[in-house]
């Protein structure tokens, strides 16, 4: 295995005494014998963290599997409401962000600081583009009345104003961009160019959200007719009375729903679709939450890169955040076919 080679190579060129001969380094904690031990320890820690993340998500994957195993027809019906092309677009955006992340790690390892900063910035930009496209998808569904199970009220007509949902979703990203731009201005004006550079870059990165919204809205404008036919396909599925009538039965006896479904499968489609969308919103929502956490971690990495902290023997933080970022990508790699490519 490559790792074994690497270990023997390290013995070869005598750096195994780790850093006692050269300076201990600004960021090497004193309880480590040197950069290598610190790196290995942190790496073990991040892998353990990723295992907890896999197990965290596995609960939702289990819910998905059990519900789909017993009610495959609900998934085929519900999947018609999801736009495969927007999903595929987001997949490629996320894969590209993984590429730039891996590139940032490489650049940090080679001490190419400007390349590291730029790669991390592109990664943040792609992350927020992903969120922007997701916001368009969510608001489109909310406009049709497609919510989680208890609130599901799709009946083929538009319930709410899609644009107002989208505007509401865009408030926080908008504020973030404005605040970052203001802090960039303050940094420049008060003679702190590094801080100004960081906040300016972050404003640019977060602006990706609006690029994503633009992409999604533009896409929906071009393929609007197609969207309508999708809506029609699901039209017969959820007559309004069902959604209304079932609402309190469900509230009162939530766990009986599976039973009732087996007894009379044709009468409960609205509720079934609602259950699918509960799973959909929780899986994609938890994933989006991880993207947001990733953006915060990436902003931290970008700041440290701008400050010039990373060296050939201290690139760990870029690597650890990178591993987390790739895991978020891995989860999406499974979510995409499971949610968008049914039937």
């Amino acid at each position: 295995m490559a790792t074994a080679e690497a270990a023997s190579a390290s013995e070869g060129h005598g750096s195994d005494g780790h850093g006692h001969d050269h300076d201990h380094g600004q960021f090497i904690a004193h309880h480590f014998t040197g950069p290598r031990q610190q790196y290995d320890s942190c790496k073990l820690g991040i892998w353990l963290f990723l295992v907890t993340e896999v197990l965290f998500f596995s609960g939702l994957f289990v819910a998905y599997t059990i519900y789909r195993y017993h009610h495959p027809e609900v998934f085929e019906e519900a999947s018609k409401f999801l736009d495969t092309r927007l999903g595929a677009l987001n997949t490629i955006v996320l894969l590209f962000s993984s590429l730039t992340m891996a590139w940032a790690v490489r650049a940090a390892q080679l001490e190419q600081r400007a390349v590291t900063t730029r790669s991390v910035l592109i990664t943040i930009f792609c992350a927020t583009v992903f969120l922007g496209v997701k916001a368009v998808e969510y608001s489109h569904k909310w406009g049709l009345g497609i919510f989680v199970a208890y609130f599901f009220k799709y009946d083929g007509a538009h319930h709410g104003d899609t644009n107002s949902y989208l505007t509401t979703l865009s408030i926080v990203p908008g504020i973030c961009v404005v605040v970052c731009a203001a802090l960039a201005g303050i940094g420049m004006a008060t003679g702190k160019p590094l801080s100004g550079k960081f906040w300016g870059a972050l404003a640019l990165g977060l602006g990706g959200y609006f690029a994503g919204v633009g992409l999604g809205v533009g896409y929906e404008a071009v393929f609007a007719s197609e969207g309508e036919s999708h809506a029609e396909a699901g039209d017969h599925a959820a007559p309004a009375e069902h959604a209304e009538g079932d609402a309190h039965t469900e509230a009162e006896h939530e766990h009986e729903s599976t039973e009732a479904l087996v007894m009379d499968p044709s009468s409960d489609e609205a509720r079934n679709l609602g259950l699918f969308f509960s799973i959909y919103y929780f899986m994609t929502g938890l994933h989006a939450f991880h993207i947001i956490a990733g953006v915060i971690a990436l902003a931290w990495i970008m700041n440290r890169s701008i400050q010039g902290h990373f060296r050939a023997d201290y690139f760990g933080p870029v690597d650890y955040v990178g591993l987390y970022w790739h895991l978020v990508d891995l989860i999406w790699i499974y979510l995409f076919p499971l949610l968008y490519l049914i039937g």
């Binding site: 197990l55 495969t84 080679l110 001490e111 190419q112 076919p337």
Partner: protein
């Protein structure tokens, strides 16, 4: 393999420490190209080939190939310690255990659910109802 082109010096000309293995640009770009290709393949296959119940296995198979590419190259698993790889894989083993046991359990209760005469009937036979609920 493409990662054989080890750069042994940093941008400033100092030798890299032994735990530092930059992945070559060629490998990164090739991995990305393969991932995009598999994404297109999975969409085309799912949307245009009628495969019925095998579709999900084909989709998941392609997703697993993509996941392996990300793990091996983007996550540097090829250069990582075997112990770290073992830890990460163990996460999937436990997730599979979780999935498998829960799935077999739910299958077990489906018979009870089907056997329950009706919701009202189930209320008069509490043991059956409890079985159906869990």
């Amino acid at each position: 393999m493409a990662h054989d082109s080890h750069q042994q010096v940093s941008a400033e000309g100092t030798p890299l420490p032994s735990f530092n293995h930059p992945i070559s640009v060629t490998t990164l770009l090739a991995t990305f190209a393969a991932l995009v290709m598999f994404t297109i393949v999975t969409v085309v296959v799912a949307k245009s080939l009628p495969m019925g119940r095998f579709e999900i296995w084909v989709s998941l198979g392609i997703a697993t190939v993509k996941a392996l590419l990300v793990m091996l190259f983007f996550m540097h698993m090829l250069h990582d310690k075997p112990f770290n790889v073992l830890i990460f894989i163990s996460g999937f083993v436990f997730a599979a255990l979780f999935m498998g046991l829960t799935l077999s359990d739910s299958e077990h209760y489906q018979d009870d659910i089907r056997a329950a005469p009706s919701f009202e009937g189930a209320q008069t036979t509490p043991i059956l109802a409890r079985g159906a609920e869990e």
